[in-house]
Amino acid sequence: MTVILVALGAAVGAPLRYLVDRAVQARHGSAFPWGTLVVNVIGSLLLGVLIGGAAVGAVPGSLVALLGVGLCGALTTYSTFGYETVRLFEDGARLPALLNAIVSVVAALGAAFVGVTLAETMWA
């Protein structure tokens, strides 16, 4: 059952990443990978809420599997982030590459902390 929920969540999460990435890119022409940054931060925030909620018994395991492991897991990506960072660096855009790495990690981690805190305040 859990396997099906994970698969269903991912079937929505992966195309959603593509569409958000596309929409964000269409709004501005820069080579900086804003689209991936946006999905990674949103996904980290949502997973933080789910895991924080699960810890206080407010979010059932099935929802964590569907939205957390499946949707957030597939919505967010490390491979795309890593590839973009290396490509920027290879193209000589060393500062944007460094900024992308630092901002992605710090913003996603911050979002995860905010998500967990939000869940604790809402449900505890």
């Binding site: 859990t2 396997v3 994970v6 698969a7 969540g9 991912a10 079937a11 929505v12 999460g13 992966a14 195309p15 990443r17 593509y18 569409l19 990435d21 596309r22 890119q25 269409a26 022409g29 080579a31 990978p33 689209g35 991936t36 990674n40 996904g43 980290s44 949502l46 997973l47 933080g48 895991i51 957390g68 492991v69 499946g70 957030c72 897991g73 597939a74 919505l75 967010t76 990506t77 490390y78 491979s79 795309t80 982030f81 890593g82 590839y83 973009e84 960072t85 290396v86 490509r87 920027l88 193209d91 790495a101 992605s104 996603a108 981690l109 979002a111 995860a112 902390f113 998500g115 967990v116």
Partner: protein
Amino acid sequence: MGAQRPPVDPDVDLGVPRQRAELRGGTTSLLAAIAGGGMVGALARYGLTVTFSHPPRGFPWATFAVNVSGCLLIGALMVLITEAWTAHRLVRPFLGVGVLGGFTTFSTYAVEVQQAVAAGAVRTGLLYLAGTLVAALVAVRLGVTLTRRATGVDRNRSAG
């Protein structure tokens, strides 16, 4: 030389004509390929994290391995389909955006760091944070370099 410059964003790079044209071939087939790939990738990740689960204060080895190996593979894949071969229009969406995007995860990585810190294992959390970042970037570079060497793209590049 005739080979295309690889895109910066492997999911969708609107600066690359072939990727801008992707949707014109049919949105349904494109999104279906991404969804199918995402399911395969996410299930593989789920299987690995369940099999190799870590204690609350321990190092999340499963996610670490998933993210680093996914980065090695995206580096290899992008060289193969943009520099070495001409691939079918759904190959990158299925394997790159779908399978590898669904396999690797940034949200689990971020929340695992938060959980380690919350459990009092600050040093493990920070080691995991920095270790994944460094290993993943090295893995992408390694995937790109080794694949260029193996396919001979390297020689064409220096000759051109």
